[in-house]
């Protein structure tokens, strides 16, 4: 289990760095873990983590679904691409802070505003990635599907999705991390709970172990999801790729 080894190495590196730098500059893993356990015992960790995870899940699903559809469309249709491009570039380069502030001003400090703002932030990166995927589709397989009169659903599932899979995987992985980072900002600016809220508090108090404990809790969740769900699935789905000799 190379992966476990690498994980152990990571912890060891952290430990060493903390020892060298001194706990004021970087608290050791044990200190962070102790804080995390304390927060978990008090229930605060789960409360905030739960709130954040719910927001992440919603915003992620929303933006991936709409973003993928839009990106696919822009990759396939020249007109859609021309029309959508200026909007895309604008959305892509609008700072998260601005979108979130505007959303809160427009829709109030509500859950809906937060999730919409986060989704809008993530949307364009999904569009950009899936657009490239759609451009790289193999037209010869399209023709095959057309000749054999594949219905839409079958084309999507058996012809398009497998070709788009690497793009979707890339968009999803970097997208999830982006959503999570933006959720933090949204929580910092206008939610009364969630990891971002706690990180804001920890930052104001400049309590680095607390800051790290909350920050890493999400990474831990993703690590577990990756190891137990995503990677086994990916391995199954890419069985058809012949390994390099």
């Amino acid at each position: 289990m190379l992966r476990l080894l690498s994980f152990a190495l990571l912890l060891a590196t952290w430990w060493v760095a903390a020892t060298i730098a001194g706990s004021a500059k970087l608290p050791p893993p044990s200190a962070v873990l102790a804080v995390a356990i304390a927060e978990a015992k008090s229930g605060a960790l789960f409360l905030h983590l739960g709130a954040t995870l719910a927001r992440v899940a919603l915003a992620f699903t929303l933006s991936m679904a709409i973003g993928s559809a839009l990106g696919f469309w822009m990759g396939r249709s020249r007109i859609a691409n021309r029309l959508g491009d200026p909007w895309l570039i604008l959305l892509l380069n609008l700072p998260a802070l601005v979108v979130i502030v505007l959303a809160y001003i427009w829709a109030g400090l509500t859950e809906v505003a937060a999730i919409a703002a986060i989704a809008i932030n993530k949307l364009p990166t999904a569009v950009v990635t899936l657009r490239e995927g759609a451009r790289a589709l193999d037209p010869s397989l399209d023709e095959m599907a057309q000749v054999f009169a594949f219905p839409r659903g079958r084309i999507l599932r058996h012809v398009l999705l497998p070709q788009l899979a690497p793009y979707i995987a890339a968009a999803a992985r970097s997208g999830l991390s982006l959503v999570w980072k933006i959720v933090l900002v949204a929580e910092l600016l206008g939610r009364p709970n969630g990891i971002g809220f706690e990180i804001g508090v920890a930052f104001q108090l400049f309590d680095i172990p607390l800051l790290l404990a909350y920050s890493l809790s999400f990474a831990a969740v993703v690590l577990v999801i990756e190891a137990l769900l995503v990677q086994p699935f990916e391995q199954r789905a890419s069985r058809w790729r012949l390994r390099a000799a």
Binding site: G108, G190, G196, G200, V201, Q204, L205, F206
Partner: protein, 312 residues
Amino acid sequence: ALLPLSTSRAAETVKVAVQKTGTFAWELAVVRAHQLDKQADIAIDAVELASPEAGKIALRAGNADIMVSDWLWVSRERALGARLTFSPYSSALGAVMVPASSPLKTLADLKGRKLAVAGGPLDKSWLLLQAALKRDGVELKSQATITYGAPPLLAAKLADGEMDAGLNYWNFCAALEAKGFRRLAGIEDILPAFGAKGRTAMIGYVFDEDWAAKHRDLVARFLSVTAKAKEILATSDAEWQTIAPLTGAPDEATLRAYRDRYREGIPRRSAAEEEADARILYGVLASIGGRDLVGPAAELSPGTYYRADARD
């Protein structure tokens, strides 16, 4: 026996935005603990937020009726057309802190030093400091190495010796003080030089004028409730033990520093006196901060201070 009566009549609600780590949150804790709100028959609905700027969003978005900010901003907003108004909350101001062993003795010694400035180039304390030194012929902005940044980060930077001195918000200064750092000067100490009569409350409750006009009574009760809470915090040391967890103070010394500075900052003067001083300071700030800071108005916008007795 009175209890059923007071609950049967629905208490009027006031929505306030509070930063979780701020002093407003401490006061609200006291209000709740002593049921001051119930006694005044109001319900304080607090929106807890994690960053200092979030309150402005809450106010603009309509999620809060009252938040805490400074009169400078209120005046600027008024000049730009927003009908906001201000009621003094605290006169605690930042201070220039140096390590205990620092050779710096006076503000003028900052020349040529590395100075950390929290809150950016338009921070009130920073502008006042510059204005004060200008009178002594020191152009601090160009004659010292200035580093702007987030207040907690700069406090940490000063603490670990990367900076020679730091101008920070009062709560960070209090924490530094507890760690043995020295106050080179508090900003309130330099105010008299500009002609101010006393400690001037820079920050206060900010709310919409029209809303306040419709809820005069509610505003009055809210102000009296928070005044009572302030009084409790001003007199009772035991109370500080209760709210200690909220302050995030890591030790007794820090808590004590917080307590003392907080108590000093409780505004004691009338609104008229405050406003008179604010006008003077406004002139000072406008002259050094320029249009970027104050917007189109050259003077403190009329109506910036909330008058409980005024009728429209």
